[in-house]
Amino acid sequence: MTEQLVLSTGEAVLFWVLAPLMVLGALALLFARRPVHIAVSIAGVMVALAVLYIALEAPFLGVAQVVVYTGAVMMLFLFVIMLVGVDSTESLTETLAGQRWIAIVGGLGLVALTIAIVTRATFASPVGLEAANADTNPVGVARLIFGDYVFPFELTAALLITAALGALVLSHRRRLGPKRGQRETVEKKLATFAESGSATAVVSAPGPGVYARTNSADMPALAASGETLDASVTTVLRVRGQVLRDEEAAAQTGRVAMIASGAPVFDTTDEAQLEDETSEIEATATESEGAEGAEGADPAGSDHADRDDAGDSSPETDEGDER
């Protein structure tokens, strides 16, 4: 291989633009708090990698990278993040003694060593893939895969199928109680109704944002009796405390009196009607900035609501997600 590969300026520019971005994106792994942010940022890194692959005369891999990693793997990650709780942020405080120091030393050591090795190693002069990619890169790769590597390739097929089956088996959950069909659901609902007399036990919850003034999904609906129905807002928004409840809205709907009374309207403990579940009116004020004043008006009541809300929402959220 006498032919010397010369990297084009364009490639250099591409590299110097992408590389810092990739490193930054990767650093999100270390410093970002929300998994969703990390996942998105890693997806970006992977797209950038795909670009680099193409620059490295591996267009087939570049495409595969986008399809497999960005398209499949990272999306799978996102799904799982949604499953286990998109809201969960992670504390970055270290719990294992000395772990952080070991990580820093080990990481720096790895960086130093790899850089030292690759920079100090003497490589043969680069050849480039011009010759190998004569019949286009996918063809070249395909010749190898279906030639030398046909057996491993077949094995990977088996591996993938096994993995799919394995995932099924792993995430399969054995039924503990009897199957609950439509009839059972109805009977349960009616039983709850008979017990509590709450209408929401039988009817489906109203959708959010039914007023003329604000139609957004973060605005809880009002019941016929005038109180807000927290359950009308999606669980995600509720959990994140993004339910809209400014003072104005409260005033318009005459909620102030209700807030002052501090009385819960619905019992929310019934698991059977998770979707229909409602909460106390007071709870609506919990994390909304707009409700600060109202909250201050009745600290005891809001405390109580806080606790209830926290206690109820997290298991319910999980259950709802899994279904």
Binding site: L96, Q99, I102, A103, V105, G106, G107, G109, L110, L113, I117
Partner: protein
């Protein structure tokens, strides 16, 4: 060479009793009914065959009386090759006859003596086994085969001493006998090692032929080792301690094994090994010294014992001391040693049987202080025992006179200090023997009865005495006693007059010119008889003419020492047993703590190390990952560092 059909059948001598023993042991209870008669028949058949061979041998010219019967190749192991073969010559035939004849008599005696023992069949099996083993011992044509019989009789002795092993002390006595014999056997083994290393063979023919040209040091060592072996088997000093305890066995056993035959094997060994001793005067001298010591030792112990069997055992020890002394004197003594051995075999066996008869009549009592005046109730026993008594005393013309007197004479032969030491000792021994044997005789058969016929005795002083019903023993017991008594009376004279016996043994021991002792023979005979009579008289005065206390008096220092066998057990205990037990204890402890402890220490060390390392196993995946990362970094650093 004349045809010798019977001699060629000599192996039957061994095979018959052996087969009988096997039948009795393997047959088990099924043979209980007739087993003892099979034993008797086997012994008698061997005796008859022995007599047949003797007659055949007497018909041969002297030079042709030695036959070596090759049986089979026993240990063909290259450098060492031992054949099993029988040496039939006058010496071995003497023993064969003694063993089979006395043995057969004692078998007969035992039929009655052991009548009430449920294991009588087993007893006869052991007796037959003993006879077979003893015959192997005396008929063997090599030291190796002799050793088979040597240990075989030890085994039989062990089994018979421990025949009543439900009593622990009897079992201990049996074990003691075997182990002390084994100490002697070490000597035998070492002697054979020496022969093999220097001569390359262990059969009599080769060894004796080569002995002349062998270095005296080796011969001396061999001789000393043979003497050690003889000491073990013949209960000679310092390995004498087992014999007294061996009286735990039934009395016929004591008569056959521990008086007439087995214990004399040591004498046989020395006489048989004459060519070795010829080249080893030091070993000879040692043998003579040991004989002299034991002679006195046994005699002194015999004076103090109250147990009739133990007194006889001490006497046996002493008499064998005479024989070993004679054998140690060299060629002049060999024939007399064997002669005394034969006569002793008769009269001592007779006395043991007599003692057994006394015990039989007295409810197994062995304490002579509980006897007395048994003459009236046991006439035959008294007479036969009396014959033996007179024989051992050496009163002419009883057997003992002819044999013992010759030994005393021989002890006075020689140069330098030796005749002046051995002679007087032998003479003194004769006197002491006369004392204690007379003591035994008088305490048992004469004096006042120290028992009573019935509870309502008129005499006030009899109150504490035990009730006994002494009676004469049945015919099966008395007949053997009578036969042996006849032997005690007549055998000595029969064989001694005209030196018949000495001539008979000459093919083996060689012809010896007559030597004059340092003191004239008639003087010696007179002195011997005088000292013997004096001893007997003292005993008569003390034990027949005056009352014998039922409880032993405290006695002098010597008496007390003699009662405990001159502290032989205490010495053994202090020198061997206690330190041995201590060593065993310490080593057993050390084996678990030190040797095994080291191994276990390795184990627990590994466990400790593992536990320590195990702390790294926090269970946190991230810890493991960090270990991996650090490991990778370190590994790469090491690789790079070694490359630089």
């Amino acid at each position: 060479m004349q045809d010798t059909p019977l001699t060629n059948l000599a192996w039957l001598l061994i095979a018959i009793p052996l087969a009988s023993a096997a039948v009795l042991l393997v047959g088990g209870r099924r043979t209980n009914a007739w087993g003892h008669w099979l034993g008797v028949v086997a012994a008698a058949a061997a005796a008859l065959l022995g007599i047949g061979i003797l007659i055949e041998m007497l018909g041969l010219p002297e030079a042709e009386r030695i036959h070596d019967l090759h049986l089979f190749s026993w240990i063909p192991a290259g450098d060492l090759s031992v054949d099993a073969g029988l040496l039939v010559d006058p010496l071995s035939m003497t023993f064969v006859l003694l063993i089979t004849f006395v043995g057969a008599l004692i078998h007969v005696y035992s039929v009655a003596y052991m009548e009430h023992d449920e294991n009588r069949r087993r007893f006869f099996a052991y007796l037959n086994l003993f006879v077979a083993a003893m015959l192997v011992l005396v008929l063997a044509d090599s030291y190796a085969l002799l050793f088979v019989g040597w240990e075989g009789v030890g085994l039989a002795s062990y089994l018979l001493i421990g025949f009543w092993n439900q009593r622990t002390e009897y079992a201990v006595a049996a074990k003691k006998a075997f182990v002390m014999n084994r100490v002697g056997d070490m000597g035998m083994l070492i002697a054979m090692m020496l022969m093999f290393a220097s001569i390359g063979a262990v059969d009599f023919e080769t060894v004796f032929a080569a002995a002349e040209g062998t270095n005296e040091g080796i011969l001396t060592a061999t001789g000393l080792m043979l003497v050690l072996a003889a000491c073990g088997k013949s209960a000679q000093f310092p390995l004498q301690a087992w014999l007294g305890d061996a009286m735990a066995g039934p009395t016929p056993v004591s008569a056959l094994i521990h008086a007439a035959t087995m214990v004399t094997a040591g004498v046989y060994l020395i006489v048989r090994s004459a060519p070795v001793f010829e080249g080893a005067p030091t070993a000879q001298l040692v043998a003579a010294i040991i004989g002299a010591i034991t002679l006195l030792f046994g005699a002194i112990v015999g004076c103090a014992k109250d147990d009739i069997k133990k007194t006889l055992a001490a006497s046996t020890m002493s008499q064998i001391g005479y024989m070993v002394l004679a054998a140690g004197l060299g060629p002049i003594g060999y024939a007399f040693a064997i002669f005394h051995l034969v006569t002793h075999g008769f009269f001592k066996a007779g006395m043991f049987l007599g003692a057994g008869s006394v015990m039989h009549g007295m409810g197994d009592e062995v304490n002579m202080r509980r006897f007395g005046a048994l003459r009236r109730s046991m006439q035959i026993t008294w007479i036969t025992f009396g014959a033996g008594w007179l024989a051992i005393l050496g009163i002419p013309p009883f057997s003992g006179f002819w044999s013992k007197d010759k030994i005393i004479e021989a002890a006075f032969v020689g140069e330098g200090w030796q005749p002046w030491v051995f002679g007087p000792i032998a003479l003194l021994g004769a006197g002491i023997t006369a004392f204690y044997m007379s003591r035994l005789f008088f305490m048992t058969f004469h004096g006042k009865a120290r028992w009573k016929e019935s509870e309502d005795s008129a005499n006030e002083s009899d109150k504490d005495l035990p009730v006994q019903h002494p009676h004469e023993s049945p015919l099966l017991m008395t007949v053997p006693m009578i036969v042996l008594a006849v032997g005690s009376v007549a055998l000595g004279g029969l064989l001694a007059i005209g030196d018949t016996f000495t001539h008979w043994l000459e093919p083996v021991t060689g012809h010896v010119e007559h030597h004059d002792p340092v003191i004239a023979i008639p003087v010696l005979i007179g002195a011997t008889i005088a000292i013997v009579l004096a001893g007997a008289f003292i005993a008569w005065r003390q034990y027949a003419a005056s009352a014998v206390p039922v409880t032993p008096p405290e006695g002098s220092v010597l008496t007390r020492a003699a009662r405990v066998d001159l502290y032989q057990d205490a010495v053994n205990e202090a020198v061997f047993a206690t330190p041995g037990a201590r060593v065993t204890e310490v080593l057993t402890e050390a084996d678990t703590t030190v040797v095994d402890g080291a191994a276990r220490g390795l184990g627990s060390g590994a466990v400790g190390l593992g536990t320590w390392w195990g702390r790294l196993q926090t269970g946190f995946v991230r810890s493991y990952a960090s270990i991996m990362v650090v490991g990778v970094v370190l590994a790469v650093v090491v690789v790079l560092a070694t490359r630089v």
